[in-house]
Protein backbone atom coordinates (compact mmCIF):
# COMPACT_ATOMS: atom_id res chain seq x y z
CA UNK A 1 0.00 0.00 0.00
CA UNK A 2 1.27 3.45 -0.83
CA UNK A 3 0.93 6.14 1.76
CA UNK A 4 -1.41 9.09 1.62
CA UNK A 5 1.60 11.24 0.74
CA UNK A 6 2.48 9.04 -2.21
CA UNK A 7 -1.06 8.91 -3.49
CA UNK A 8 -1.53 12.61 -3.33
CA UNK A 9 1.93 13.59 -4.36
CA UNK A 10 2.50 15.79 -1.40
CA UNK A 11 6.26 15.88 -1.72
CA UNK A 12 6.01 18.74 -4.16
CA UNK A 13 3.99 20.88 -1.78
CA UNK A 14 6.44 20.42 1.01
CA UNK A 15 8.98 22.27 -1.05
CA UNK A 16 6.86 25.43 -0.97
CA UNK A 17 7.68 28.07 1.65
CA UNK A 18 6.65 27.48 5.22
CA UNK A 19 4.54 30.62 5.57
CA UNK A 20 1.69 28.99 3.68
CA UNK A 21 1.52 26.01 5.97
CA UNK A 22 -1.90 26.63 7.46
CA UNK A 23 -3.36 26.92 4.03
CA UNK A 24 -1.78 23.66 2.94
CA UNK A 25 -3.19 21.78 5.87
CA UNK A 26 -6.63 23.08 5.02
CA UNK A 27 -6.20 22.31 1.37
CA UNK A 28 -5.10 18.76 2.11
CA UNK A 29 -8.26 18.26 4.17
CA UNK A 30 -10.31 19.55 1.28
CA UNK A 31 -8.25 17.49 -1.11
CA UNK A 32 -8.99 14.30 0.69
CA UNK A 33 -12.64 15.25 0.50
CA UNK A 34 -12.53 15.85 -3.22
CA UNK A 35 -10.38 12.88 -4.14
CA UNK A 36 -12.23 10.22 -2.15
CA UNK A 37 -15.12 10.18 -4.54
CA UNK A 38 -15.44 6.45 -5.00
CA UNK A 39 -15.67 5.73 -1.31
CA UNK A 40 -18.47 8.02 -0.24
CA UNK A 41 -16.85 10.84 1.73
CA UNK A 42 -17.63 10.73 5.42
CA UNK A 43 -18.80 14.26 6.09
CA UNK A 44 -18.78 13.80 9.82
CA UNK A 45 -15.17 12.77 9.83
CA UNK A 46 -14.21 15.79 7.74
CA UNK A 47 -16.34 18.06 9.87
CA UNK A 48 -14.66 16.73 13.02
CA UNK A 49 -11.20 17.17 11.53
CA UNK A 50 -12.06 20.72 10.61
CA UNK A 51 -13.70 21.54 13.90
CA UNK A 52 -10.57 20.51 15.71
CA UNK A 53 -8.91 23.31 13.76
CA UNK A 54 -9.70 26.97 14.24
CA UNK A 55 -13.27 27.73 15.26
CA UNK A 56 -14.98 30.19 12.98
CA UNK A 57 -12.88 29.53 9.87
CA UNK A 58 -13.48 25.81 10.26
CA UNK A 59 -17.23 26.12 10.60
CA UNK A 60 -17.35 28.34 7.55
CA UNK A 61 -15.39 25.73 5.66
CA UNK A 62 -17.66 22.93 6.79
CA UNK A 63 -20.60 24.94 5.53
CA UNK A 64 -18.92 25.54 2.21
CA UNK A 65 -18.14 21.85 1.82
CA UNK A 66 -21.73 20.92 2.53
CA UNK A 67 -23.08 23.50 0.13
CA UNK A 68 -20.67 22.82 -2.65
CA UNK A 69 -21.11 19.09 -2.69
CA UNK A 70 -22.39 18.73 -6.18
CA UNK A 71 -24.95 16.26 -7.30
CA UNK A 72 -24.12 13.86 -10.09
CA UNK A 73 -26.07 11.38 -12.17
CA UNK A 74 -26.41 7.67 -11.52
CA UNK A 75 -25.25 4.61 -13.46
CA UNK A 76 -28.58 4.03 -15.14
CA UNK A 77 -28.48 7.55 -16.52
CA UNK A 78 -25.05 6.84 -17.99
CA UNK A 79 -26.21 3.49 -19.40
CA UNK A 80 -29.08 5.18 -21.20
CA UNK A 81 -27.09 7.94 -22.88
CA UNK A 82 -27.38 8.00 -26.66
CA UNK A 83 -24.61 5.92 -28.26
CA UNK A 84 -22.77 7.26 -31.29
CA UNK A 85 -21.22 5.11 -33.98
CA UNK A 86 -17.60 6.04 -34.60
CA UNK A 87 -18.26 5.63 -38.36
CA UNK A 88 -20.58 8.64 -38.20
CA UNK A 89 -17.86 10.84 -36.74
CA UNK A 90 -15.16 12.78 -38.55
CA UNK A 91 -11.75 13.59 -37.24
CA UNK A 92 -13.04 14.66 -33.81
CA UNK A 93 -11.24 14.39 -30.48
CA UNK A 94 -12.80 13.49 -27.17
CA UNK A 95 -12.76 16.83 -25.31
CA UNK A 96 -11.71 15.14 -22.07
CA UNK A 97 -8.85 12.77 -22.97
CA UNK A 98 -8.14 14.68 -26.23
CA UNK A 99 -7.61 11.42 -28.15
CA UNK A 100 -9.12 10.98 -31.59
CA UNK A 101 -12.24 8.81 -31.50
CA UNK A 102 -11.04 7.09 -34.69
CA UNK A 103 -7.82 5.97 -32.96
CA UNK A 104 -9.70 3.92 -30.39
CA UNK A 105 -9.99 0.25 -31.36
CA UNK A 106 -13.04 -0.32 -29.18
CA UNK A 107 -14.73 3.06 -28.96
CA UNK A 108 -17.77 3.52 -26.75
CA UNK A 109 -18.99 7.00 -27.55
CA UNK A 110 -22.00 8.84 -26.15
CA UNK A 111 -23.84 12.06 -26.96
CA UNK A 112 -25.21 14.23 -24.17
CA UNK A 113 -28.79 15.52 -24.44
CA UNK A 114 -27.58 19.08 -23.80
CA UNK A 115 -29.26 20.46 -26.91
CA UNK A 116 -26.19 21.44 -28.88
CA UNK A 117 -26.79 21.18 -32.62
CA UNK A 118 -23.74 19.16 -33.54
CA UNK A 119 -23.96 17.19 -30.31
CA UNK A 120 -21.47 17.16 -27.49
CA UNK A 121 -19.78 13.80 -27.77
CA UNK A 122 -17.43 12.03 -25.37
CA UNK A 123 -15.90 8.64 -24.64
CA UNK A 124 -18.21 6.99 -22.12
CA UNK A 125 -15.12 6.18 -20.02
CA UNK A 126 -14.23 9.87 -19.92
CA UNK A 127 -17.62 11.46 -19.32
CA UNK A 128 -18.70 8.76 -16.83
CA UNK A 129 -16.51 9.82 -13.88
CA UNK A 130 -17.41 13.48 -14.47
CA UNK A 131 -21.18 12.93 -14.58
CA UNK A 132 -21.08 10.82 -11.43
CA UNK A 133 -19.96 13.92 -9.53
CA UNK A 134 -21.37 16.72 -11.69
CA UNK A 135 -24.46 17.15 -13.80
CA UNK A 136 -23.20 19.62 -16.40
CA UNK A 137 -22.01 19.15 -19.95
CA UNK A 138 -18.26 19.94 -19.91
CA UNK A 139 -18.55 21.87 -23.17
CA UNK A 140 -21.66 24.04 -22.70
CA UNK A 141 -22.35 23.70 -18.93
CA UNK A 142 -25.95 22.72 -19.64
CA UNK A 143 -27.36 21.11 -16.51
CA UNK A 144 -28.52 17.60 -17.36
CA UNK A 145 -30.08 17.13 -13.93
CA UNK A 146 -32.31 20.16 -14.54
CA UNK A 147 -33.44 18.61 -17.79
CA UNK A 148 -34.22 15.37 -16.03
CA UNK A 149 -36.20 17.23 -13.36
CA UNK A 150 -38.09 19.18 -16.01
CA UNK A 151 -38.98 16.00 -17.85
CA UNK A 152 -40.15 14.38 -14.64
CA UNK A 153 -42.25 17.41 -13.70
CA UNK A 154 -43.83 17.44 -17.14
CA UNK A 155 -44.61 13.73 -16.88
CA UNK A 156 -46.06 14.15 -13.37
CA UNK A 157 -48.20 17.03 -14.61
CA UNK A 158 -49.53 14.99 -17.52
CA UNK A 159 -50.27 12.05 -15.23
CA UNK A 160 -52.04 14.33 -12.79
CA UNK A 161 -54.11 15.79 -15.64
CA UNK A 162 -55.10 12.32 -16.75
CA UNK A 163 -56.10 11.41 -13.19
CA UNK A 164 -58.11 14.63 -12.82
CA UNK A 165 -59.91 13.95 -16.08
CA UNK A 166 -60.72 10.46 -14.84
CA UNK A 167 -62.22 11.71 -11.62
CA UNK A 168 -64.21 14.38 -13.48
CA UNK A 169 -65.70 11.65 -15.62
CA UNK A 170 -66.58 9.72 -12.49
CA UNK A 171 -68.35 12.76 -11.08
CA UNK A 172 -70.31 13.12 -14.29
CA UNK A 173 -71.27 9.48 -14.01
CA UNK A 174 -72.59 10.15 -10.51
CA UNK A 175 -74.66 13.04 -11.89
CA UNK A 176 -76.28 10.78 -14.43
CA UNK A 177 -77.07 7.94 -12.09
CA UNK A 178 -77.26 9.87 -8.84
Amino acid sequence: MSTYEDEHNITHRQTTPDNSRTHQTLSSVINSFITTTTNAPDMNEIAQALQSMEGSIASQLVETLHNEKKQGLDDSYLDNLERVNVKDLGDDDCPICTNKFQDDKHPLIVKLPCGSKKGHIFDLDCIGPWLKMNSTCPLCRFDLLDLQKQRKEKLDKELKQLRDEDSEEEEEDWDVYG
Partner: protein, 152 residues
Protein backbone atom coordinates in the same frame (compact mmCIF):
# COMPACT_ATOMS: atom_id res chain seq x y z
CA UNK B 1 2.18 6.51 -8.83
CA UNK B 2 0.30 5.71 -11.99
CA UNK B 3 1.80 6.58 -15.35
CA UNK B 4 1.23 10.10 -16.57
CA UNK B 5 -2.02 10.23 -18.58
CA UNK B 6 -1.60 10.82 -22.29
CA UNK B 7 -3.59 14.03 -22.07
CA UNK B 8 -1.07 15.56 -19.65
CA UNK B 9 1.82 14.56 -21.91
CA UNK B 10 0.06 16.12 -24.92
CA UNK B 11 -0.78 19.31 -23.04
CA UNK B 12 2.80 19.64 -21.81
CA UNK B 13 4.25 19.13 -25.28
CA UNK B 14 1.98 21.78 -26.74
CA UNK B 15 2.69 24.27 -23.94
CA UNK B 16 6.37 24.02 -24.84
CA UNK B 17 6.15 23.79 -28.65
CA UNK B 18 3.34 26.34 -29.07
CA UNK B 19 3.39 28.51 -25.93
CA UNK B 20 0.66 30.96 -24.99
CA UNK B 21 1.94 34.51 -25.75
CA UNK B 22 3.41 36.03 -22.61
CA UNK B 23 3.31 32.76 -20.66
CA UNK B 24 5.87 30.01 -20.13
CA UNK B 25 5.06 26.72 -18.39
CA UNK B 26 7.58 23.95 -17.81
CA UNK B 27 7.07 20.75 -15.85
CA UNK B 28 9.48 20.06 -12.99
CA UNK B 29 11.92 17.31 -13.80
CA UNK B 30 11.21 15.46 -10.58
CA UNK B 31 7.43 15.70 -10.84
CA UNK B 32 5.80 16.08 -14.21
CA UNK B 33 2.52 17.16 -12.62
CA UNK B 34 4.14 20.26 -11.13
CA UNK B 35 4.75 23.21 -13.44
CA UNK B 36 6.82 26.33 -13.05
CA UNK B 37 4.98 29.14 -14.77
CA UNK B 38 5.91 32.71 -15.63
CA UNK B 39 3.34 35.22 -16.77
CA UNK B 40 3.92 38.67 -18.24
CA UNK B 41 1.64 41.35 -16.87
CA UNK B 42 -0.85 42.33 -19.61
CA UNK B 43 -0.17 45.58 -21.48
CA UNK B 44 -2.02 48.67 -20.22
CA UNK B 45 -2.79 46.96 -16.90
CA UNK B 46 -1.16 47.90 -13.56
CA UNK B 47 0.91 44.73 -13.96
CA UNK B 48 2.40 45.79 -17.30
CA UNK B 49 6.11 44.97 -17.67
CA UNK B 50 6.02 42.72 -14.61
CA UNK B 51 7.01 39.06 -14.81
CA UNK B 52 5.15 36.91 -12.29
CA UNK B 53 6.11 33.45 -11.10
CA UNK B 54 3.35 30.94 -10.45
CA UNK B 55 3.21 27.28 -9.55
CA UNK B 56 0.67 24.97 -11.12
CA UNK B 57 -0.05 21.47 -9.92
CA UNK B 58 -2.20 18.79 -11.56
CA UNK B 59 -3.91 16.67 -8.89
CA UNK B 60 -4.23 12.92 -9.39
CA UNK B 61 -7.79 13.20 -10.65
CA UNK B 62 -7.05 15.95 -13.15
CA UNK B 63 -8.92 16.61 -15.45
CA UNK B 64 -11.91 15.66 -13.27
CA UNK B 65 -10.61 18.27 -10.82
CA UNK B 66 -9.06 21.63 -11.73
CA UNK B 67 -5.32 22.33 -11.55
CA UNK B 68 -4.12 24.05 -8.39
CA UNK B 69 -2.51 27.36 -9.24
CA UNK B 70 -0.84 29.94 -7.02
CA UNK B 71 1.13 33.13 -7.51
CA UNK B 72 4.61 32.93 -6.00
CA UNK B 73 5.43 36.55 -6.78
CA UNK B 74 3.80 39.09 -4.47
CA UNK B 75 0.98 40.83 -6.29
CA UNK B 76 -1.54 43.53 -5.33
CA UNK B 77 -4.83 42.35 -6.85
CA UNK B 78 -8.34 42.11 -5.36
CA UNK B 79 -8.76 38.50 -6.48
CA UNK B 80 -5.38 37.21 -5.32
CA UNK B 81 -4.62 36.85 -1.62
CA UNK B 82 -1.42 37.12 0.41
CA UNK B 83 -0.61 33.45 -0.16
CA UNK B 84 -0.99 33.87 -3.90
CA UNK B 85 -4.26 31.98 -4.06
CA UNK B 86 -6.49 33.02 -6.93
CA UNK B 87 -10.24 33.61 -6.81
CA UNK B 88 -11.37 32.51 -10.23
CA UNK B 89 -14.58 30.60 -11.01
CA UNK B 90 -12.98 28.21 -13.51
CA UNK B 91 -10.51 27.10 -10.84
CA UNK B 92 -13.42 26.17 -8.57
CA UNK B 93 -17.12 25.62 -9.26
CA UNK B 94 -16.91 26.40 -12.95
CA UNK B 95 -14.15 23.96 -13.72
CA UNK B 96 -14.87 21.67 -16.67
CA UNK B 97 -12.74 18.72 -17.81
CA UNK B 98 -12.83 20.21 -21.30
CA UNK B 99 -10.69 23.10 -20.03
CA UNK B 100 -6.92 22.76 -20.15
CA UNK B 101 -3.80 24.18 -18.52
CA UNK B 102 -3.66 26.60 -21.44
CA UNK B 103 -7.18 27.92 -21.00
CA UNK B 104 -6.67 28.27 -17.25
CA UNK B 105 -3.47 30.29 -17.71
CA UNK B 106 -5.25 32.50 -20.25
CA UNK B 107 -8.07 33.06 -17.74
CA UNK B 108 -5.55 34.09 -15.08
CA UNK B 109 -3.92 36.49 -17.52
CA UNK B 110 -7.35 37.95 -18.26
CA UNK B 111 -7.95 38.36 -14.52
CA UNK B 112 -4.77 40.47 -14.33
CA UNK B 113 -6.08 42.62 -17.16
CA UNK B 114 -9.45 43.14 -15.49
CA UNK B 115 -9.47 42.87 -11.67
CA UNK B 116 -12.89 42.23 -10.19
CA UNK B 117 -13.19 43.83 -6.71
CA UNK B 118 -16.84 42.73 -6.44
CA UNK B 119 -15.82 39.08 -6.20
CA UNK B 120 -12.85 39.43 -3.88
CA UNK B 121 -10.53 36.97 -2.25
CA UNK B 122 -8.18 39.56 -0.78
CA UNK B 123 -10.76 41.53 1.15
CA UNK B 124 -8.62 44.50 2.19
CA UNK B 125 -7.25 44.91 -1.32
CA UNK B 126 -10.78 44.74 -2.75
CA UNK B 127 -11.93 47.36 -0.21
CA UNK B 128 -9.06 49.67 -1.19
CA UNK B 129 -9.89 49.07 -4.81
CA UNK B 130 -13.53 50.02 -4.41
CA UNK B 131 -12.79 53.03 -2.19
CA UNK B 132 -10.11 54.60 -4.35
CA UNK B 133 -9.41 52.81 -7.59
CA UNK B 134 -6.74 55.21 -8.96
CA UNK B 135 -4.78 54.84 -5.71
CA UNK B 136 -5.13 51.04 -5.70
CA UNK B 137 -3.86 50.94 -9.27
CA UNK B 138 -0.86 53.04 -8.18
CA UNK B 139 -0.07 50.54 -5.40
CA UNK B 140 -0.44 47.63 -7.85
CA UNK B 141 2.04 49.38 -10.15
CA UNK B 142 4.49 49.97 -7.28
CA UNK B 143 4.31 46.32 -6.23
CA UNK B 144 4.81 45.23 -9.83
CA UNK B 145 7.95 47.36 -10.13
CA UNK B 146 9.21 46.16 -6.76
CA UNK B 147 8.46 42.42 -6.79
CA UNK B 148 7.82 41.36 -10.40
CA UNK B 149 11.10 42.47 -11.91
CA UNK B 150 12.66 40.55 -14.75
CA UNK B 151 15.44 38.33 -13.45
CA UNK B 152 18.97 39.20 -14.49
Amino acid sequence: MAALPKRIIKETERLISDPVPGITAYPDEANLRAFTVTMNGPDSSPYEKGIFDLELYLPDDYPMCPPKVRFLTKIYHPNIDKLGRICLDVLKDNWSPALQIRTILLSIQALLASPNPDDPLANDVADDWKKDEPKAIEVAKEWTAKYAKAKE
